[in-house]
Structures are given as structure tokens and as C-alpha cells.
Symmetry: C2
Subunit: 361 residues, 2 copies
Amino acid sequence: TKHFKVAVLPGDGIGPEVMAEALKVLDAVERRYDVRFERTPANVGGAAIDLEGKALPETTVAICQAADAILFGSVGGPKWESLPPNEQPERAALLPLRKTFDLFCNLRPAIIFPALTGASSLKQEIIEGGFDLLVVRELTGGIYFAEPKGIEGEGPARTGFDTMKYSEAEVERISHVAFAAARKRNKKLCSIDKANVLSTSVVWREVVERIGKEYPDVELSHMYVDNAAMQLVRWPKQFDVMLCGNMFGDIISDEAAMLTGSLGMLPSASLSEGTFGMYEPSGGSAPDIAGKGIANPIAQILSASMMLRYSFAMIDAADAIDAAVEKVLNDGYRTADIYQGHPGEKKVDTVTIGDAIVAAI
Amino acid sequence: TKHFKVAVLPGDGIGPEVMAEALKVLDAVERRYDVRFERTPANVGGAAIDLEGKALPETTVAICQAADAILFGSVGGPKWESLPPNEQPERAALLPLRKTFDLFCNLRPAIIFPALTGASSLKQEIIEGGFDLLVVRELTGGIYFAEPKGIEGEGPARTGFDTMKYSEAEVERISHVAFAAARKRNKKLCSIDKANVLSTSVVWREVVERIGKEYPDVELSHMYVDNAAMQLVRWPKQFDVMLCGNMFGDIISDEAAMLTGSLGMLPSASLSEGTFGMYEPSGGSAPDIAGKGIANPIAQILSASMMLRYSFAMIDAADAIDAAVEKVLNDGYRTADIYQGHPGEKKVDTVTIGDAIVAAI
Ligand SMILES: CC(C)[C@H](C(=O)O)[C@@H](O)C(=O)O
Ligand SMILES: CC(C)[C@H](C(=O)O)[C@@H](O)C(=O)O
């Protein structure tokens, strides 16, 4: 029997509700495969601020350190919105988690499930047949972490400043992940930068170009970030894998995710160099629908699937979860966020769609 | 007779063709209003590299310095794509022009013309009745200009770095422009930042908040840039004026422009503190259709209209140009980029639509 330790951080808003469904799915995997997931819950985000005085308590970090992977829900909500921006639950939980566990590689798939093309903001003719792109975002470098940053001076000269930085080594390691991912997909990598203005991007582009020589089967292109923001809207199918630095990836991956119209469907993985990783839905804590039992648990369930795939090398089990989600969608199950009233659709609550996915595994 | 000096910089690709139509429109304005536009042409971009060895020759700068405003076409094309990114025509022409003339304020309207909703990538139900938002982008500060920037170190530690900076004074002056613009529109201003991570954004948000007190009739909100990239796709009508720093404005304004589906329709203005400004289409030089006489000149013509409005205080004449463009669209005139084959549409070339606009003034 394989044995994995999972730190379970449900967080705020819909986090606990959708996490419950993902844990049911892990139960189902235990029944079907020879594996045990030892789960240890821990507080994070607003819930942790309320209970332990900070968004990422030491006890939570220790539980994560003892685990093989982190399954993360979502954090934040109106209750904590009056805190200064840099103390808000999302930022105060996520940034230190990423740094502590060197989660340098963020994988954010943006997929339109063929059953759900109607949910996208885009016209039918643009998304006909769906699209499937993967944003690979560097997650522990760039302007979100580099020093120096701060505020100095007085009066009108008082100036806020930040530093953007990337070393060759940092770009190399994220490039390898992106090229390897492209190799397993449609063999196209588009690297996003602003090399016509930023020195950081000049190094970024040189290194991506150099690493690309080791992956001659992958077609490499470069695109300025402003153009990428346009091209995503115009014709998202032109992209397979998009490789971005931390800040550009933040913006581009959110834009791509929203284009699918199914934010509640999209998982994400934040990986370190070994097998350790953190897995969380791309969407937020959706405080407006929290506690109503109507949230879409699929992003959380697919995050658990990514955990099996990337941290536990349980490819079959991950494929089984993904297939179960697809089957349940094809069977017409829809939570409110993806219900469109088409014939054959059944509007169901969080637990019902979770049960259906469990039954399909 | 009023007298204004205009530096005319057609540039590359479709630049000269669409500029010719804008100049015809200025002729029409001269015929109808008591004004003379003294126009001096100058080389810029790839054309200037070829003829004078650099994208922004001193002679061109001198001509601009002697003028009351710059009417700019577009620059760049495949011929110069093998140049290093920072020597490419667009970057090498635009950044020094902005700095030399202190063009700190970039106004980029993103409008869906009711006659053209079909051209947008967005679903009909999202853009029903069109939308009309204005991005106000700070254009001479932030990470595109601040020092230090460069590359240092060797081997894997070789690091590219840039500095992002905003002083209170810089944020104040762009905020005033944005609030004043909102006051004349729908009285809503959304300021875009990343104040949960960037110190620059902390100062940005504080100053915008403070200046906002002087405009109590304008409803102010703040949004993180990643969320803004999503919200634009989800529901662009929620925005009236979006205020952004240089880099966020670069990305957000391009995304917003592409959402309209009518890049060839959108003008822009880059203003200094006095009445001097530079006016140019939001789209690029479209080398694929250059020389064919089929480019859409409307963005260039509306840029001329913005010049009359902002640099020459000729509001009536600007309104007349805008109304003429609207009439010609309502009459069914369409260049290829906006032709959709609907009943009543006439597919016409650059000169024909230009003539129709001139006739309507
Ligand atoms: C909360 C914030 C710091 C974070 C980021 O920008 O990295 C979030 O937006 C994300 O993308 O995970
Ligand atoms: C060419 C480039 C430097 C420029 C910018 O990013 O400012 C362009 O993209 C623009 O938006 O006008």
C-alpha cells in the first residue's frame, strides 16, 4: 500500500465545501487503488487570522512541511477586506507558502470543456470545439519577490519602488518545465515577455531561446505581453503552452482562465523541484455563495487530480478522476455557475455533483 | 484665422495610406472652419532607419519641437524584425518621443461602435448596445523608464533587472487627468494596481485615493490588475475610466482595445502638461495589408479629431469629424477589417471611406 501525507488547507468562503468533495474523491481513489492518503487539516487565510492571529500560522507551515503535498482551498472574503492590501488573507497566505516551499512553477490550465462552450464570454465561432492552453508561470521570482522594494522620500517626492529581476538559473528551471510540458502536449511554446523595454525580459528571452535548443521538437515563439493580452482575446486556439514570468503570468493566466467562462472548473498546481507541490482551484473563495452548498467543486477535485499526477505519480488515478469529471459533465450535471438551461442539463448542488463524480470513478 | 503647426509622421506599413486620409480630413476642417494647419512631414520608425539611420532622427525631433502637435501613423514591420528588440522601430521611436515631450498621459478609448458589435470577439449578450471605456495610462514613468536597469553577473547568476517606481507627484498629475475625464463621462473611475504585492502600487493607491477626495462626484474603486484582466473579459460595461500605471496600462489598454474587435477604429492621444500632444492609431502598421489601399483609416482620422479636441481646443470641429465617421458607418461604409457582409454594408477601400468622411464633414 502506497502512503502519502496530504496537508489539507480548506481556507475561507466556499473552500471548506468544495474541499469536502475533493476529500470524498480521495476516498474513492483509496477504494479503487492500493493507496492511503493521510490527511492533516490546517488553518489558512482569514480563518487562520480569526483563530490563530495570522493568515499562515507556524503550525500550518509545520503540517505542510511534514506532508508530501498541500491541497489548498481558497482564501479571502469581505470580512478581511479592510486589512491593508499586503495583510489580506490571499496575499499573506500564498506568497510565504510559495517562498517557504520553493514553489517556483505554477501550472494553470485554461480549458474550455466541450460540454461548456456556452459559458465562455467569447463568440461561438472563436471557441468552436473548445480550447486547451496551459500557462506556465514562474512563481517565486520576478517583481513579486525581488529586493529592494519599499517607499522612500517625503511629500511629492515620496516614491514607491520595486525591483524586477530574473537570473539565468531561474529562467532555466522554469523553461525546462515549460518545454517538457509542451513536448507532452501540442509541441508549441510561446514565451511572453517585454524584451523591447525590460532588461529582465532580455535575459528571459535569451535563456528561453537557449534552452529551446534542447527541445528541437517544440516550436518556440516569443510574444510581447501587451500583444499576448490581445491575441488571447482574438484567437486563443493559437496557443498551446504560454511561458511567463511571475507578474505577466499572474495577469495572462487570469485572463485566459476567465476566457473559458469556467473559472470554477480550473485547477492549478504550484510545484517545487522535487515532487512536493501545492494544488488549488484557480478561482477565488466566492464569499457571495459560501455556505449555500451550491459552489462548483470541480476545480478543487481536478486540483486533487493534479496532486496525484504531479506529486504522487499516480497517473492512472488522475486520469480516472479527470474522466469521471468529463462523464458527469456529459451526463448533464451542472452546478449553478455552469448551468445554461440547455436540454439534458440538470442543475445540482455541490454534494450531488461530488457524489456523481465519486460514483463515476 | 487660427494657425496650428502639425508635425506629420506617417511611419511604416499602412501609416502613409491612412495618414493621407487624415490629412484630407484636416483639409475639410480648414474649408469649414477658420483655421490653417501647417503640416511638416518627417521620417520615423523603420522608414527613418532606412533613410536616416535611426528610428527617431534629430531632424524629426526638431520638426516636432517646432510644432503644436504630432500626428503619428504607425511604425514597424518584418523588415526590421531581426533588429534587437530594443532597437525595433516601435520601441526606438515611441519611448524617446514620449520622454522628450513629457507625454505623461496616454488616453486610449476602447469603444464598440453600435454599428460594429459583430466585430467583437465577445458574445452578443455581453456587448449588446456597445461599450465605451477609456483607459488613462501613465506614459513616462514606472518600470518602462525608471533606473537602474540592466544586466549583471556571469553564468547562471547573470541577472536582468529593472526598477519600477512612482512618486506621489507623478501619480497626482495622471490622477487629475483621469478624474477630470471621468467627471465628463459616466463619473466612474477604477484605478488598477497590485497593491497587495508592489510598494509602487501602495503609493499609487494612496495618492489616487487622496486626489479622489477633490472629485467627490466621481465614484472611485480599486482593482488588482489580474482581476482587471478578468473583469474586462467578463463584463467590460462595468468600466467607465480605468486609470493605470505605464506597464499595467500597456497590457490592459491593448486587451480592452482588442475586445472591441475594431482595433482599426481606435485612436489614442499622448498628452503633456500644456496643450502639446501626440496622436496615433491604437493599432499597428499592419504590414500584411500595407500598400493595398484597403486599410481602415478611421483610427487615424479619429486621432486627428483628438488632436483638434485636446491640443487645439477645436471642440466643434472634433465633434464634426466624430459625427462624420459615425454617419459613414451608419451609411454602411466598411473597409475589409470591419466588413461583415450584413445587408446594407458596402465593402470599400481606404480612399473611398476617407472621401465619404470628408464629404460628411
Ligand atoms: C494573492 C496574490 C498575491 C496572488 C498573486 O498575484 O500571485 C494571486 O493573484 C495569484 O495569482 O495566485
Ligand atoms: C513599443 C512599445 C514600447 C510600446 C509600449 O509598450 O509602451 C507600445 O506597446 C505601446 O503600447 O505604445
